[in-house]
Amino acid sequence: MIRYTLTRFGLLLLGLFVASVLIFTTLRVLPGDIAQLIAGTGSTPEQIAGIRERLGLNQPLPLQYLDWIGGVFRGDLGSSLLTGKSVVSELAEKSEVTVPLGILSLIIAVVISVPLGVLSAMRRGRADGTALSVGAQTLAAVPVVWAGMMLVVVFAVWLGWLPAQGFPRAGWSDPWAAFRALLLPALTIGIVEGAMLLRFVRSATLQAVGQDFVRTAAAKGLTRNSALLRHGLPVVGLSIITVLGLQVAGIIVGAVVIEELFSLPGIGRMLVTDVGARDLPKVQGELLALTGFVLIVGFVVDLVHRILDPRQREAA
C-alpha cells in the first residue's frame, strides 16, 4: 500500500509538472509576441516594452517558467493583467458559487443514476429496463446548454418556480435565495452527468450479475435479485468510485458552460470572460488550478479505491 501510494503520488507530481509546462508553453511560446498581443494593434513600442518588462518577458523562457512555478509553490498563481487582482483571491471568491454548484450537481447525479442504473440492469430485457436504458442513452447525447435552456423554459418560464438566471448579490448571507439560484444549474449538470453515470452503473451491475460470488449466493438460496443487491452492490459501488474522477472533470466542464448560461458569478464564467479578454496570466493560473484539481481528484479516487477494494489490497 505504501509503495503504491508513493508510486501514484509520483505520477501525480509528474502530471502536475507536465500540465504546468503544457499550459505555460501554450500560453507563452506559441503566440509569438505576447506583449504585442496584450497591448493590441494600436500600441506604441514603448507600451509593448513596458508590458514585456512588467511580465518579465525579457528573461529566458526556462527562467520565466521557474519564476511562475516558484510563485505557485508559495501559493501565488499570478495576477490579472487588467485588474491586478491576484488569481488566488479571485478563485477563492468565485468558488463560493462553483463549489456548492459542483457538490450539488454530483449529489443529484448520484441520487438519480445509482438506483435507476441498478433498476435498469435488473429489469434488463423488459419494457421498463429498456426504457430507462434508452432514456439514459438519449440524455447522455443532450448538450448541457440545451438541457439548461429546456429546464429554464419549464421551471422558470412556464411554472415560475425558480429564477431563470443570476445569483443573489448578497451571496450566501441569504442561503435560501442562493440555494434556489443554484438549483436549476445543478439539476442541469446533474441530469446530464447522471445519465452517463447511469449507463456506467447499469453496466457495472450487469457485470456483477455474472460474478461467481453472486451466482454462489443465488445457488445458496437467495433470489437472484437479493443476491445481487446484497453481494453485488458493494462491487458496483467500488466501480462507481473509479469513474468519480471522470465525473468531477465532467462537472467542471459543465460548470463552465452552465455558469455562462445562468450568469452565475463562478469560476467557469470567470474563465470564459478571461479567455475572451485574453488576460493570459490569469488564464494561466486558472487553468493550472482547474487541471491540478482534476489530477488531485484522480489521485485521491485511486487511493480510496485501493483502500476499499479488498481484491486490490490482497494483490498488493
Partner: protein, 312 residues
C-alpha cells in the same frame, strides 16, 4: 469477369472480400447500428445538400417576418431577425460535419502516432509515452479548447484541434494495449521473419487488426466533436457569427427564451440526434466488429464501457 469465371471453373476463392465487409451486415442488423447509420447518413446528406440548396438563404434578414410560427413556407419558423430556422439548421449541418470530420482526422493521426510510439518503440520510450498519455487524458477537451482560444482567439479550427488532441490521446490509450496484443501474434512474427520492416508490418498487419477498436473510438470522437462545437460556439469560442452553427443558433435564440421558448427546441434536437446517432453507431460498430461481445449472455462483461465526455 464473367467470361473469366466461365473459362476457369470456380475456385472457392472469392470468399474473402465478402467476409471483409461482413461486419457491415451485422451492423445493419443491430438496432443501434442501423439507427446510427441512418442518422449519420441523413446529417451528412443534409450537409451535402445545404452546400448548394437550402429552402431560404440562411442569413437573409427579413424583419417583417420575424418569429413566424412553424408552418408554410417556414417549416420550423423564423428567428428574431426573420431568418428561416430550417435553412439555418441545414447550413449548420455543414459546420457540424466539417468539425466532426476534421476532429476525426486529427484524432486518427495523433492516436495512431501515440499508439505506435507507445507500443512499438524501445521499452523506455514506450513506457514514457504510456505515462504521458495517462497524464494527458486527464485534460478535459473544453479546457484544451479554451487554452487554445486564449492564444489564437476562437474559431472552428480551435474546436477541431482541441477535440482531435483530446480524443487522439483517448484513442491511443485504447489502441495501445490492442496493438501490443496483436504484436505477440504469429502472423506478425511471420511477417517480421519474412523481412518486413517495422513500418511495413505496422501498415500491413498491425493497423488492419486494430482497426475495429479504432473506428469505434473514432465514432465516439466525432460525437464529442459535435457537442464541443455546439458548446464552444455557444460560449463564443467556436464558429464566427457569420457562420451558421447549431451552437451559435442556440446562443442567439437563448436571448429570447422567455418570449419564444420553443424556438430553441430545433437546434437542440438537431445536436442531440446527431450525437446520439454517432454514439449508437460507435456502440453498434463495437458489437458488430467484436464477435466475442454479442454471443455471451453477460455481454457487458467484456465490453470496454464507453462513457461519453461532457463537453458542452
Amino acid at each position: 469477369m464473367t467470361t473469366m469465371d466461365a473459362a476457369t471453373p470456380a475456385p472457392p476463392e472469392p470468399r474473402r472480400p465478402r467476409s471483409r465487409w461482413a461486419w457491415l451486415g451485422r451492423l445493419w442488423r443491430l438496432s443501434t447500428g442501423r439507427f446510427g447509420l441512418i442518422v449519420v447518413a441523413v446529417v451528412a446528406l443534409t450537409a451535402l445538400v445545404a452546400g448548394f440548396w437550402t429552402p431560404f438563404d440562411p442569413q437573409k434578414v427579413q424583419i417583417s417576418n420575424r418569429w413566424a410560427a412553424p408552418g408554410w413556407p417556414n417549416l420550423l419558423g423564423t428567428d428574431g431577425s426573420g431568418r428561416d430556422i430550417l435553412s439555418l439548421l441545414m447550413a449548420g449541418a455543414r459546420t457540424t460535419v466539417f468539425v466532426a470530420v476534421g476532429a476525426g482526422v486529427i484524432a486518427t493521426v495523433i492516436g495512431i502516432l501515440l499508439a505506435a510510439l507507445g507500443a512499438l518503440t524501445a521499452r523506455w520510450v514506450r513506457e514514457s509515452v504510456a505515462v504521458l498519455v495517462d497524464i494527458l487524458i486527464a485534460f478535459p477537451v473544453l479546457l484544451i479548447a479554451m487554452m487554445i482560444s486564449a492564444v489564437w482567439g476562437g474559431s472552428l479550427w480551435v474546436v477541431i484541434w482541441a477535440v482531435g488532441i483530446g480524443f487522439g490521446v483517448n484513442i491511443a490509450r485504447v489502441t495501445r494495449p490492442e496493438l501490443r496484443r496483436v504484436l505477440q501474434s504469429d502472423f506478425v512474427l511471420a511477417g517480421r521473419a519474412s523481412g518486413l520492416t517495422p513500418s511495413q508490418n505496422l501498415v500491413r498487419h498491425l493497423l488492419p487488426n486494430v482497426a475495429p477498436v479504432f473506428i469505434v473510438q473514432l465514432s465516439w470522437a466525432m460525437a464529442v466533436a459535435v457537442l464541443a462545437e455546439a458548446g464552444l460556439s455557444y460560449l463564443g469560442f467556436g464558429a464566427p457569427v457569420t457562420e451558421p452553427s447549431w451552437g451559435l443558433l442556440l446562443a442567439e435564440l437563448q436571448q429570447f427564451i422567455t418570449v419564444h421558448p420553443l424556438s430553441v427546441l430545433w437546434p437542440g434536437l438537431a445536436i442531440t440526434l446527431t450525437v446520439l446517432g454517432l454514439n449508437l453507431l460507435g456502440d453498434g460498430l463495437r458489437e458488430a466488429t467484436d464477435p466475442t461481445l454479442s454471443r455471451s449472455p453477460f455481454a457487458t462483461r467484456r465490453a470496454r464501457l464507453h462513457i461519453p465526455e461532457v463537453v458542452s
